[in-house]
Subunit: 136 residues, 2 copies
């Protein structure tokens, strides 16, 4: 794990939350991206080396819609930057952690990503992410 | 807001969670500190410029015990490093945010801290923290 790449926050209304975090962080969002495959609209803010990612559902089947239904708005996941996502996935499986996807998948912000099952991580949804070498 | 200083994670059993995060982050905790005034045992890990802080209750009245009772284990708060905590508190109050303490208080890791009410921050408990100039 190199550092915390971003923190994902589930929000109901992107317009309201964009204003709220723009004021709070005292900086404007620098990236606005739809990830159709996950049913999410994402918005990124920079704060040092760790980004804040707001996540709003684009349809009722989106994992973000389901998360908000169960738990309300709030922190959804922490993403750690890794150099070699496959090596890190192998290391963690060998240590007994459970992966939610066995192959890295394409996430927002040109990343290859993998989630760990929160049952092994104190209820915290953890994402590994690596810069996607195919996206440049 | 300079950067994300740390992420606080509420845990039930520090011994179990210490092992879990030591393996996950592939690094050992570098600081172990009791904050008697808050009823918490804290343990810090470094991951780049953002630390991971595990928080376990030391008594049933601790805010961490109450958090776990309501929401279960998981992410408790995000702390942002600020240069001048009083100036940042003033700025945020003027913008309509609500502070949980009107004077900075002493937190773990030699910091002056202040929490924002999560009702104005999408359900995310946010801490401001500044290095405590009186603690060196």
């Amino acid at each position: 794990m190199l550092h915390i790449e971003h923190i994902g926050i589930a929000v109901k209304n992107m317009e309201v939350s964009q204003k709220l975090f723009t004021t709070l962080l005292n900086t404007s969002a620098y990236k606005d991206e739809l990830v159709a495959s996950e049913g999410v609209h994402t918005l990124f803010f920079r704060t040092g080396e760790t980004k804040v990612e707001l996540l709003a559902a684009t349809n009722p089947e989106s994992p973000i819609a389901k998360f908000i239904e169960k738990k309300g708005e709030g922190i959804h996941h922490i993403a750690f930057a890794v150099k070699d996502i496959r090596a890190e996935m192998q290391r963690l499986v060998a240590e007994g952690y459970v992966l939610l996807n066995t192959e890295p998948k394409k996430g927002a912000d040109n990343k290859l990503i993998c989630f760990l099952h929160p049952k092994n991580t104190n209820g915290v949804l953890i994402e590994l992410c690596q810069d996607n070498p195919d996206s440049n």
